[in-house]
C-alpha cells in the first residue's frame, strides 16, 4: 500500500541524510525501521509523512503518487504521523486534543472520539484532564488516538516508546499489536530494535541513509549482524 522509493532528503545545505532509501508496507503489516543513531530513520519517516522536503524519490499510497503533496495532503491520503515528542497539546484536555485532531475533517467527530475512548478506556477516564498531566504511556496513547482521529490507512510512529519505562513500553507495544490486528498497518521507527522486531512482520535496517538489510521481523531479530549492531556484542 505504501511504496517509497529512492528517497533523497536533508536539512538545509548540509549533506543529504537520506541517500536513496526505500520502504514498502503491505496491508496488515507492522514494519519497523531500525538503524544506528543518525542513520536517518526519523528523517525517512518524516519524508514519507511530508514533513521533510524531498530532493529525490517518490512516495505512493495505494498506487496514487503523493510525492508532491504536503503533510496535510498526505494526511488526507491516509498517512497519520505521530511525532516522537511534543505530540499532544499539553495545555488542552484529552477530549479537546482528540477533537482538534479532526480539524481538517470534523464530520462524525464525536463518533470517532467515542470509538477511541472504547479502544483506550484510560483516555475516557482522563477525558477532562490536561494532556500535560498524563503519564508518558498515556500521552503516547493519546497521540496515537489523535492520529486515529484522521481515519488513517497507515499509521507512522516515530520512536513511540522513547522515554517510557520498560513496563509502559511493553504495554504500548501491546497497544500497537492490537491496533494492527484491527486492520491498520503500522510503520515505525524504534530504538528498542529487538523488541520492536519481535512484534513486526518485517523490518528494514537503515545505515547512513541507505537500506542495509531487510527481512522478516523475527528473522532480523535473530540475525547475528543485527544483534551485534544493536546489542553491542
Amino acid at each position: 500500500m505504501l511504496k517509497a522509493e529512492g528517497l533523497v532528503a536533508g536539512y538545509g545545505a548540509a549533506e543529504e541524510i537520506l541517500k536513496g532509501a526505500w520502504i514498502d508496507v503491505e496491508a496488515g503489516e507492522i514494519v519497523t525501521i531500525i538503524g544506528p543513531n543518525g542513520a536517518g530513520k526519523s528523517t525517512l519517516l518524516k519524508a514519507i509523512a511530508g514533513l521533510v522536503p524531498l530532493k529525490g524519490g517518490t512516495v505512493k499510497m495505494n498506487g496514487a503518487d503523493v510525492t508532491r503533496q504536503d503533510a496535510l495532503g498526505r494526511s488526507k491520503a491516509g498517512l497519520a504521523f505521530v511525532m516522537q515528542e511534543k505530540n499532544v497539546f499539553g495545555t488542552m484536555s484529552v477530549a479537546e486534543n482528540l477533537d482538534i485532531a479532526s480539524f481538517g475533517n470534523s464530520s462524525g467527530m464525536a463518533a470517532r472520539r467515542e470509538a477511541i475512548y472504547a479502544r483506550y478506556p484510560v483516555l475516557a477516564e482522563k477525558r477532562k484532564a490536561m494532556a500535560r498531566t498524563l503519564s508518558g504511556g498515556q500521552r503516547q496513547l493519546l497521540a496515537m488516538g489523535m492520529g486515529l482521529m484522521t481515519e488513517p490507512k497507515l499509521l507512522l510512529l516515530d520512536e513511540p516508546t522513547a522515554g517510557l519505562s520498560p513496563k509502559a513500553a511493553e504495554e504500548l507495544f501491546m497497544a500497537i499489536i492490537e491496533l494492527n490486528q484491527s486492520g491498520l498497518p503500522v510503520l515505525m521507527v524504534e530504538q528498542h530494535a529487538l523488541e520492536a522486531l519481535e512484534i513486526s512482520t518485517r523490518g528494514y535496517v537503515i545505515v547512513t541513509g541507505r537500506n542495509a538489510a531487510t527481512g522478516g521481523g523475527k528473522e532480523l531479530a535473530a540475525d547475528p549482524e543485527v544483534r551485534r549492531l544493536f546489542l553491542g556484542g
Partner: protein, 287 residues
C-alpha cells in the same frame, strides 16, 4: 471603611475594563509570542471610532463598541501586515520595540485627525445610585455588564468553537497544529484582529467614564501590560485576574498616596509578584 469599600468597588469596575485590552495583549502574546505595545493605540483608535459614530450618528454604547472592535481590529491587522510581521524573523524583542513605534505613529495620526482636545461621549446623564453608603452609576453598570459579556464571549469562543480551540492549539504547539491541518500564519492574523479589536472595545469602555484624547490608550498601557504580566502572559483567565488586582491596587493606593503615583502601582505590583512567581499568577510556561 466605606471609603475602602468604595475604592475596592471602583477598582473592580476599572479592573474589568482593563481586562478587555489585557485579554487582547495576552491572546496576541500566546499565539505570536511577542508583547504588542501598540495595543494602547488600538484602544485609542477604538475609542475615537466609537466616539465619532456616537456623536455624529447618535449610536448607543453597544453598537459603538462594535464599531470600536472593527476599527481596532482592522488597524491592528494593517499594522501587523505592514510592519510587525515583517520583523518577526528578527525576534520577539525587535517586534515589541517596533510595536512601541506603531503606538507613537498611530497616536499622532489620531492627533492629526481629531486634534488634541478632550472629547466626551454623548450619553444621557444619570444620577448615581447609593447603596449602603456606596456610590454606583448606571453608566458603570452598563460598561461593567458589557465587559462581562465580552469576557464571556471570549471564553466561550476559545473553549467551545472549532476555531477557538485551533487558536489555543496553535498557541500551544504550532508544528503539531500544522500536522492536523491548521494554518498557524492565518490563525495568527485572526488572533491579531481579535486582540486589537478587544483593545478597541476596551478603549471605549474606559473612555465612557471620563473623556478621551489621543493619549488615552497610551496612558492605560502600563496598567494593561501589568495586568497581563501579573496574570501570566498568555493566560486568558490570568489577564482578567491580573486586571482586577491592578484596578483594586491602584484605587487603594490613591487613598494613601497622591494620585500621581497611581501608575507606580502597576510597576510595584509587577515587581513584587514576579519576584515571587516569575511565570505570573496563572502562567503555565516556564519560559
Amino acid at each position: 471603611m466605606t471609603i475602602v469599600a468604595q475604592a475596592i468597588l471602583n477598582g473592580i469596575m476599572t479592573g474589568m475594563l482593563i481586562a478587555i485590552p489585557a485579554l487582547g495583549l495576552t491572546a496576541i502574546f500566546a499565539v505570536l509570542r511577542y508583547v504588542n505595545f501598540a495595543i494602547g493605540a488600538y484602544a485609542t483608535v477604538g475609542a475615537f471610532a466609537a466616539w465619532y459614530v456616537n456623536t455624529r450618528f447618535g449610536l448607543g454604547v453597544f453598537p459603538a463598541a462594535l464599531v470600536a472592535f472593527v476599527a481596532g481590529g482592522v488597524v491592528g491587522l494593517i499594522a501587523e501586515q505592514t510592519a510587525l510581521a515583517r520583523l518577526r524573523p528578527s525576534g520577539a524583542l525587535a517586534v515589541a520595540i517596533a510595536s512601541i513605534a506603531v503606538n507613537l505613529i498611530l497616536e499622532n495620526v489620531i492627533r492629526f485627525i481629531f486634534g488634541n482636545d478632550l472629547q466626551g461621549f454623548d450619553l444621557p446623564i444619570a444620577r448615581d445610585w447609593r447603596f449602603a453608603g456606596l456610590r454606583f452609576g448606571p453608566q458603570q453598570l452598563q460598561t461593567a455588564t458589557l465587559a462581562i459579556v465580552i469576557m464571556a464571549v471570549v471564553f466561550l469562543f476559545l473553549r467551545f468553537t472549532r476555531f477557538g480551540k485551533a487558536m489555543r492549539a496553535v498557541a500551544d504547539n504550532p508544528d503539531l497544529g500544522r500536522l492536523f491541518g491548521m494554518d498557524p500564519a492565518r490563525i495568527a492574523m485572526i488572533t491579531v484582529v481579535l486582540g486589537a479589536g478587544l483593545a478597541g472595545v476596551g478603549g471605549v469602555l474606559l473612555g465612557l467614564d471620563t473623556a478621551i484624547d489621543p493619549m488615552t490608550g497610551s496612558r492605560l498601557l502600563l496598567s494593561i501590560f501589568a495586568a497581563a504580566v501579573l496574570g501570566g502572559l498568555g493566560s486568558i483567565p490570568g489577564a482578567v485576574l491580573g486586571a482586577v488586582m491592578i484596578g483594586v491596587g491602584e484605587e487603594l493606593a490613591v487613598l494613601v498616596l497622591p494620585a500621581t503615583y497611581r501608575s507606580a502601582v502597576g510597576f510595584a505590583t509587577i515587581l513584587l509578584i514576579l519576584s515571587l512567581r516569575p511565570a505570573g499568577i496563572l502562567g503555565e510556561r516556564n519560559t
